[in-house]
Structure formats: structure tokens, C-alpha cells
Symmetry: C2
Subunit: 231 residues, 2 copies
């Protein structure tokens, strides 16, 4: 491993582990030069690479800081439903249906989220666009990884928005399918049972710790995903 890769790796490990929280000031280039006994260009190379990935933010005179996680770090912006709806010129609204403290992942969900072992927070709600229900969301949050969620005030926001702003997740996995609406979803979304729905499942981890599992089911005739790519 090259020296600049080692510096990069060390800093990234500190951030991912939660040792350095968002906003924490990273040692200056000169301090890092001294720590690693190397030239400033080598440190600069490592820090520049980290800032390009969005993990840190560099400000002149002030120094380098651990970046606050922001929404546009991923290319496919699955979770930010509000922005998609608002971008279409419609009014976005989240209606929380229930928040439950559970001692463990409920039966029937264990197959979908075997990672979480301890107590979890279960949330349910509906995403609305204008006066139309857009999709239902069921979510589990691991309270061992995110204990502050137990007492969090989600305000009027969906739990996903709160999580994005409060937890520095390191890995997420999505699964996107077309499924028929069951009777419960059909009633919530005002569509016939069996009507096509887009289901997005999302598993999120911080390092090896499970953070959350979300299952969103959207009306097929009112919602689609878009993604722009450049090679």
C-alpha cells in the first residue's frame, strides 16, 4: 500500500468508525506531514482524494473537516422522495401512521432483515403527492446501532430523511421489483389489489452494523425512478 493510500485509509477509518464525527476538524496538512514524516504533496494527494469522494470538506484558512452526509452522494437518489415529488411541481407530504418500540425484529420480517439482533424501532407511513397517496413505507431501525432514534423527534419528515442527516452510513443495498398490491397496500394507496406497484427495499449498514431496513411500495401509475449516468 502506498503512503498516500495509507493516509487516506487511516482518515477514512476514523470517520467510518464514528471516532471523528461530521464537523470534526482534521489535522492540518502540516501536522499530517509531521505525523507521517512525508512531504506535503503526499498528504495533499490523500486529502484531495477524500474530498472528491465527499467524505471531507476542505476550507481555506479554516482547515479540513469531516463532511456532513448529504443527499447527493449517491447517483441513484432512491430515498429522497420529497425532492422528486417537489421537482414535478407537486406538494410532498409524509404522514406517519405508527411508531413502535419493539424488542426484536417481528416475525415475518426476520427473513428480510436477519442482521438486526436487538431491539428495533418500527415505523409505518404514507408518502403523498398533492392529495394522492404515492406509496407506503415500512421501516425498521436498529436501536443498537442508532440508539438516538428511540427518542428522536422525526418532526414532519419521513424517518429516512432523519436518518440521512444523523447517521453516516457506509453501505447501502437496494432491491427494486414490480409486485402486485395486496389488500392492505391497495387500500392505503387507493388502487385495486393486484395492481402493479414498484417496491424498493433498502438495507443500510454503518461498517458491519445494521442501521435500517426500509420497504417502500409505490403506485406503479404514479411513480418511477430516474437515474442519470455518465461513464
Amino acid at each position: 500500500m502506498t503512503l498516500d493510500a495509507r493516509i487516506r485509509h487511516d482518515i477514512e477509518a476514523r470517520i467510518r468508525s464514528g471516532d471523528w464525527r461530521p464537523g470534526h476538524r482534521i489535522p492540518t496538512e502540516q501536522e499530517l506531514c509531521a505525523n507521517y514524516s512525508c512531504a506535503r504533496a503526499t498528504v495533499s494527494k490523500a486529502l484531495t482524494a477524500l474530498s472528491r469522494t465527499g467524505l471531507i470538506e476542505r476550507r481555506k484558512k479554516a482547515g479540513s473537516f469531516v463532511a456532513y452526509p448529504h443527499l447527493n452522494t449517491t447517483i441513484l437518489e432512491v430515498p429522497d422522495i420529497g425532492a422528486i415529488v417537489t421537482g414535478r411541481g407537486e406538494a410532498y407530504r409524509w404522514v406517519m401512521a405508527s411508531v413502535d418500540h419493539l424488542d426484536a425484529v417481528p416475525a415475518g420480517w426476520r427473513d428480510d432483515w436477519p442482521d438486526a439482533a436487538g431491539p428495533v424501532l418500527g415505523t409505518r407511513g404514507v408518502h403523498w403527492a398533492d392529495a394522492q397517496p404515492l406509496g407506503v413505507e415500512e421501516r425498521l431501525i436498529d436501536l443498537a446501532t442508532v440508539p438516538e432514534a428511540a427518542t428522536a423527534d422525526f418532526g414532519g419528515d419521513a424517518p429516512g430523511s432523519w436518518l440521512l442527516g444523523h447517521v453516516a452510513w457506509s453501505q447501502a443495498c437496494h432491491r427494486i421489483r414490480a409486485v402486485p398490491a395486496d389488500t392492505q397496500v391497495g387500500r392505503a394507496l387507493a388502487i385495486a389489489p393486484g395492481a402493479p406497484c414498484l417496491r424498493i427495499e433498502r438495507w443500510t449498514w454503518r461498517a458491519t452494523n445494521p442501521v435500517t431496513y426500509a420497504r417502500q411500495t409505490f403506485r406503479g401509475d404514479r411513480y418511477d425512478l430516474s437515474a442519470d449516468f455518465r461513464p
Copy 2:
């Protein structure tokens, strides 16, 4: 604009314009140093950045070359159906149903692909996993942008595979929806009309020129998209 950005931009422009084709040898670092009258580190910075984006490939002793477009450049690997199927341990097969030379985008498709003005190649076919039809694909290829497609031998591969290997696309846009199967798709996929299907539409450009429009419709019960992310 900084000097290394200018070097990077110049080289990228040559590649995107098609002036330097995949496999073309880029001037050595020393030659570029001379051209731009700068230090080798500056040239190296530009070339390293280009190779990290996958646009060029650097080989010791041999030099730097324009990279052949490869499948894993995007995070969400929508087009590579074959790899997904094979990864599940099933046998992938593409069956071409028709290839048509058309003078223009057919009526009924113009709304979906208004970009293409001239003659296009229209293809239809079915993706199979083992002995089960997985999804149907309808595609239009702009022959003004990709004239070699008119006489191309797609072999046993889907047109998308051929395109990925022959055209350096610069931008792609996806749309993912859940739609009900119509009678034609239902018959091709052996499912009931109205059954939920995952539809992926993909528009691809090279610079401002349209390359292709593809519409894939997959059985909802047999196909899903997965995507891993790291912030």
C-alpha cells in the same frame, strides 16, 4: 481553469468527440510535458484522474491508451442482464425476434424518443433465463450516430451488448417503472395480461447525439434490480 484541469479537459474532449478511438495511444507524459510546458507531476495528475474515471488505461512501459468501454463503469448495472442471470446460476439466452431498417422513428415511439431524426434500426427480442422468458426488449438505434450498426452482426448477443462494446456513450438516462403486462407482452412472457412487470427505459447519448432508446419489460416475479452503494 487550472493547468491540470485543462490537460484533462483537452484529452477528454478528443476521446468524447471520437477523434481518439478506444485503443488509441495517448502521448506519453514527457510529450505532454513538452506540449504544455509544465512539470511531469502536473501531467501525471491529469492522467491519473482520467484513469480513475475509467476513460483511459495506463500501462507501464507501453503508455496510456483510450480505454475500451466496459460494463462496470456505472454503479447500477442495468444493461448487463446476462451477468445477472448467470450470477444466479441460470443459463442466459437472447433470442432475437426481428431487426428492421426504418427510415424514421415509427409512430407511437416518437413521444418516447423525439431526439432521433433520421433512419433508425429497430430490434426486438426476448431475454431468457434457463427455459423461462424473463423479459422482452424493444430497441431503436440511431443510424446517423452509429452507422456501423446497420451492417453489424450482433451474433447471439443482445444489441445492447454490441453497442456497449462499440460505442463510447457519454450519458445515459434510465426510467424504472412498474407496469401491467399488455396482451402482447403477456404472451411473450407467459404471464397473464395485467400482471406486474418491471419496465426499464434507457436513453443513451454520445455528446449531444442520440445513440439508442431501449425499452425492457421484465416479469415482476422473476426479475429485480439490485444496486450496492457506498457514499
